[in-house]
């Protein structure tokens, strides 16, 4: 239902994918984009940005017109298949075989593909089977035989010089293998197999094998040597196995390239073949991407469109070769597709980082318009509510999702029949229950989202022993501002664990998963932070866990001599945690005492202290800001109290403020500026500035994570 939400432009007849694949979804010709040196396209974006959804949509739309296949690199099936024969298979080879089989069954324009080159490589690594009898090798080779069988209705692209010959050679080879009864095999079987193969192939086929396997490192132009070395490298494992796998992938692409080349291919094939690698940040995906990027960096050219996914904005460490990330070609759909792409020229030449061959497509956040339409469309299905309520829900969804498509869909669906007060905190919709369409019991939308965004997408490198506590740790870390805060919390919550995660590790894992920190928050994403804060408050009764964490940090920063971290001073940092954990009056007192004589600095401190979420429970901030709660203190203290609550409310950004609060802010600051203390007059300009920001729903204290917000209107 929401498969193409936000991707309409990318998927339409003149969109990026139609031009990349050279065919529109309706099958019409498109002038192909880029080439002959094609970039590997990486869809970058954190969890819930729709990378997998986009790949599914591309597959659904284009697979009937061009040979596009999709592999899920997170799937365990490849590793499972490889497990019985670790010497003859790997997850990579199994994934490649799967890809080849899918292309072998392609029935669109141009017909099926055959993979004689790829098969030759597979046949030699088959000699690495654990039970190295002739029969076992024969059985292993037979697994791949289908790849070279001509489809019943041969397309125009079928190459005659392979036809029958290779199959004959294979049969011969299998006979030879079956005839040998003495072990051990290994090299002997390999030799017999290669002899049988090269005895029967035509000169043209041999030339093809020479072109590919003759280039294998150490082959010295001899295809037999190349294949033999491929087999031994594969069995050796480690880096050498990676080389072998890279060559197998290359052979597969060469087979595709050959199918498109020649007269038959020129006449019969359309567009470009495509390989969509979902969850390419997984090791399998990374190995495939690395293989193709290395080949293309080394000058190998093919027309296979490779599209992968990456959670990190820089695409992942493997692209940068250990160097600081360099500028990578990238675009956002809203800015339009770059008309040209050329490989980045690195000073290292063909030893440069792999990122030179990449084009990044930044997954788009939903625009305010898309978001509102999607939310309203989802809500239309629910009970009819009045317009004001719907707008409130839409605003809350916008604020909490930050335009992250998956979050939008989930929140809007859950909130569709959730009652929400006009003045409620946006986080109130996180209590909504989500009816699962396939009949599973309803669950709070927070749980569903955290499951999908965090638990289902654990950091790839996160050690297994931390899997269980990962969400809980993140939940506690939601109140952390900087690594120091985080470390304090981590130490506390991992007490008793032998293996502990440090803040730095957690930050790295988060970054790898697409949840980078921002300058003032350890959990940088506003929406995720709200989810975690919400979870934290509900973790134990009356928000005990929440208070405990804040008290822990307050106490940590009470010790003199520490640095403020993300804050100007340690006191400010402490006051921030104190404010949200029941120390409002202390904070007011502190503020009232420190104001005279340092107005400008005081204002900055006020903003830092008040940039905090409000704990659950009754929210009196609005009343207190407007002076509706009786307070008998001196005027300065009273005014500071009101101002603190007004600023807190405005800075939290999960509650409607608008012009009313802007007026209050201005009034209070003007009131202060007329009081008799040093520097009071300096508050006048601040009054104007803050009220303008508040009136326009702008953050009073800007932070990276607030940039995605401001979509309430």
């Amino acid at each position: 239902m929401y498969e193409d939400l936000g991707f309409e432009k990318l998927l339409n007849a003149d969109g990026f994918f139609a031009r990349l694949l050279g065919r529109s979804p309706s099958g019409a010709d498109c002038k192909p984009l880029y080439g002959p040196d094609l970039p590997v396209v990486l869809l970058t974006g954190g969890p819930g940005m729709g990378k997998g959804r986009l790949l599914r949509a591309v597959h659904d739309r284009f697979a009937r017109q061009v040979p596009v296949i999709r592999l899920d690199c997170a799937s365990l099936v490849y590793a499972d298949r490889a497990r019985p024969e670790p010497g003859a298979r790997s997850a990579v080879t199994e994934a490649l075989v799967e890809a080849a089989l899918l292309l072998h069954t392609w029935r669109g324009t141009g017909g099926a593909f055959t993979f004689p080159r790829f098969f030759a490589g597979l046949a030699v690594i088959a000699t690495g089977v654990a039970d190295d009898t002739g029969q076992a090798i024969r059985t292993e080779v037979e697994r791949y035989e289908e790849l070279i069988q001509q489809p019943r209705l041969r397309g125009l692209g079928a190459r005659d010089f392979w036809r029958g010959v290779l199959l004959g050679a294979v049969r011969k080879m299998l006979e030879v293998l079956a005839g040998q009864t003495l072990g051990p095999y290994g090299a002997a079987a390999l030799t017999a197999l290669l002899d049988a193969l090269f005895e029967r192939v035509t000169p043209r086929a041999e030339a093809e094998l020479t072109r590919i396997y003759g280039e294998y490192p150490g082959a010295a132009g001899q295809p037999k040597h190349g294949l033999r070395k491929l087999a031994t490298d594969f069995q050796t494992g480690g880096e050498r196995r990676k080389d072998a796998e890279r060559f197998l992938f290359r052979a597969l692409r060469e087979d595709l390239e050959a199918a498109y080349g020649g007269l038959g291919g020129w006449l019969g094939r359309v567009g470009r073949p495509g390989l969509l690698l979902d969850h390419a940040e997984q090791p399998l995906g990374e190995r495939l991407l690395r293989a193709v990027l290395t080949d293309r960096r080394d000058g190998q050219r093919d027309r296979v469109v490779i599209v992968g996914t990456a959670r990190r904005a820089d695409g992942g460490d493997f692209l940068h070769g250990g160097l600081p990330p360099r500028e990578v070609a990238a675009f956002r759909p809203a800015d339009g597709v770059p008309a040209t792409w050329s490989r980045r020229r690195d000073p290292e030449g063909d030893r440069g980082p792999l990122s030179a061959g990449v084009l990044m497509l930044r997954m788009p956040f939903l625009t305010g318009d898309q978001l509102r339409k999607a939310t309203e469309r989802i809500q239309l299905g629910a009970e009819r509510e009045d317009g004001a309520h719907r707008r409130r829900i839409t605003a809350a969804v916008a604020q909490l999702s930050g335009g992250r498509p998956h979050t939008v869909i989930r929140l809007a669906t859950a909130a569709a029949d959730h009652r929400m007060e006009t003045d409620a905190n946006d986080r109130a919709i996180l209590d909504a229950k989500l009816h699962h369409p396939d009949g599973a019991p309803e669950r709070p939308v927070t749980d569903v989202l955290l499951q999908e965004l965090i638990l289902d997408q654990l950091p790839v490198r996160l050690p297994d022993e931390h899997h269980d506590q990962w969400l809980d740790l993140l939940t506690h870390l939601s109140v952390a501002h900087d690594p120091e805060c985080a470390d304090v919390l981590l130490r506390h919550h991992q007490a008793g664990h032998t293996l502990r995660l440090t803040a730095d590790e957690v930050a790295r894992y988060l970054n790898d998963t697409g949840w980078p920190s921002c300058e003032r928050h350890f959990i940088g994403d506003f929406g995720l932070r709200q989810l975690l804060v919400h979870r934290l408050y509900g973790l134990s009764r009356d928000g005990a866990a929440w208070y405990a964490d804040h008290h822990l940090l307050r106490d940590h920063y009470a010790v003199s001599g520490r640095r403020g971290g993300a804050f100007h001073s340690v006191t400010t940092h402490r006051m921030n945690h104190h404010l949200v954990s029941g120390g409002v009056d202390d904070v007011v007192r502190h503020l009232a005492a420190t104001l005279p004589g340092r107005s400008r600095q005081w204002c900055e401190e006020l903003l830092e202290i008040a940039q905090a979420p409000y704990p659950g429970g009754a929210d009196e901030r609005r009343k207190r800001a407007q002076g509706l709660v009786r307070d008998d203190g001196p005027p300065l203290r009273r005014t500071v109290d009101q101002l603190l609550h007004a600023v807190w409310l405005c800075e939290e950004r999960t509650r409607p403020t608008g012009s009313e609060m802007a007026r209050t802010l201005e009034q209070l600051l003007r009131q202060l500026s007329t009081m008799y203390f040093d520097g009071a007059g300096e508050l006048g300009p601040t009054a104007t500035e803050w009220s303008h920001l508040a009136a326009n729903e702008q953050p009073l204290l800007r932070c990276d994570c607030t940039d995605e917000l401001g979509r309430r209107r």
Binding site: S26, G27, A28, D29, Q65, T109, G110, L156, W266, L267, G268, R269, V270
Partner: protein, 545 residues
Amino acid sequence: MPSWIPRWNRLPRWGKILYALAGVAVLVAAGVYGVPALQKPDTCHDGIEKIGGECIGVDGAGYDFGTPEISAVAKAISEENERIANQPHVTVAMMLPLQSDTAGLRRQMRSDLQGAYLGQRRANSGEGQVPRIRLVLANPGLNYGHQDNVVSTLLDMAESDKDKLRAVTGFNLTLDATEEAVERLTENGVPVLASRISGDGIANVDGEKQRFPGLARIIPTNGNAAEALANFNGERGRENARTVLVYDTRPDAYAESLANAFRGIKETGPAGPADMPFESPGIDEAGSTGNQFEQVANNICGSAADTVYFAGRTLHLRIFALTLAKQTCANRHFTLVSGSDAASLRQATSEKDWAQLRGEDGGAKVTVQYAAPAHPAAWDTELAAWAKQWKETHHREPTANELPQYLTEPKAALDALSDLIKSTSKAGTDLGSAPNLEDSRTMLVYDGLVTIGTALHEVQGNDAEQAPSLADVRQEWSKLQSVHRVKGTSGLICLTSGGNPYDKPVAVVELNPGQGVRGTLKFVGLGWPTGKEQPKNCVIPSGTS
């Protein structure tokens, strides 16, 4: 577009190439077959264009132009053409409209073609006389409407060494289009022999510059015929008080020339009724002529006139005669005098019409008298009368030599034609019907072909393979006189320098309702345009040409 036809931009290259090749093939096929088919005119038959439902063109291979009446005779002509195909021959075209919705007209066409066929046979019958005549039929359409096309074809044929067209004959109607056709043919040097044109407009005036160089005619002009009629009727026909002229004001060369001829008769005595005009819509369209004639007839009743000169076409003559017969003064007997077109009157008049023309006592109310260009009974009747008179003065039978040549020679020619008809019939040649000589068409067309044959044989040089030129034939017309006179079935044909027949007699015939079912056509005598018979050997006196 149906979904099973893949769109162009969805096709792989081989599909596009296939489509493109198919497209090119379609274009080429369209170019090769379609364009000529589009450019090719609609045809009725090989070489015969279909224009506005009419089949226009020239054919000598037996095509009947869609007129079943002439199928047999067209076939006979093509057979004769085939017979002489391997002998030295030239082509003669027979040009006249060959299609009509009127059965009567179609029968007339058959009579014309029968004459043409018989004339061709006669011209081709001389042992060793070359060139032979290959006869082709040229249909210029209704009222010669498409003569332009046909004339162009004929001009091409005249230039062609294969066809060697040397003369065009036919021409049965005096119309502006006929005049144009004759003018264009003669201007381009093609000899024309008009066998049945009587209009004064399509004739050269002797002694003046020839308007139609190479035109020969074999019947008197309307003027001459009118003179002959007046001469024949003697005093009665010249008495002004007893004559009245009724004429058609529609532009029609025949009617105009006839009216002029009648006006030219020198009349005597007190003035009679003024000329009475009427206007008809067309040659064979009645229109409102019935009403117009009602008044004309009334006026005539009121006058002392009993001889009406009628300058109009047959159809209108019939209507006028019927109208006149209905008048109260019809106890008087009227004589209607008209021109050669009246020859068709008998065929066009129904039994009911005849009954109307008869009085209650069975006597004729109206007698139509006209100058037929020929009549089969003329020679026998005249010879008998001549012999009777001779006997009265000489009291003995005249010897063969004493018989007048101007009667005996045409009689011999007519006898020969009758023999030819018999022999043709005996040989089993189907001409569609037995030729009926009475309406004179067959005789005149036959005479035309014989005249052309004579001219061709005269100009043929010693080399039989060398066909005479167009100029030879053109110049030969005026030499056909005196010794080289043509003995026609319609009278001796001796052509003046202008190609006109000198003192060609007209057969004055009277159409009487009589007692018979279809009336009787009675030959009453010969009229001579000059007032006297043709001279001995038909030597044209000096001063005539």
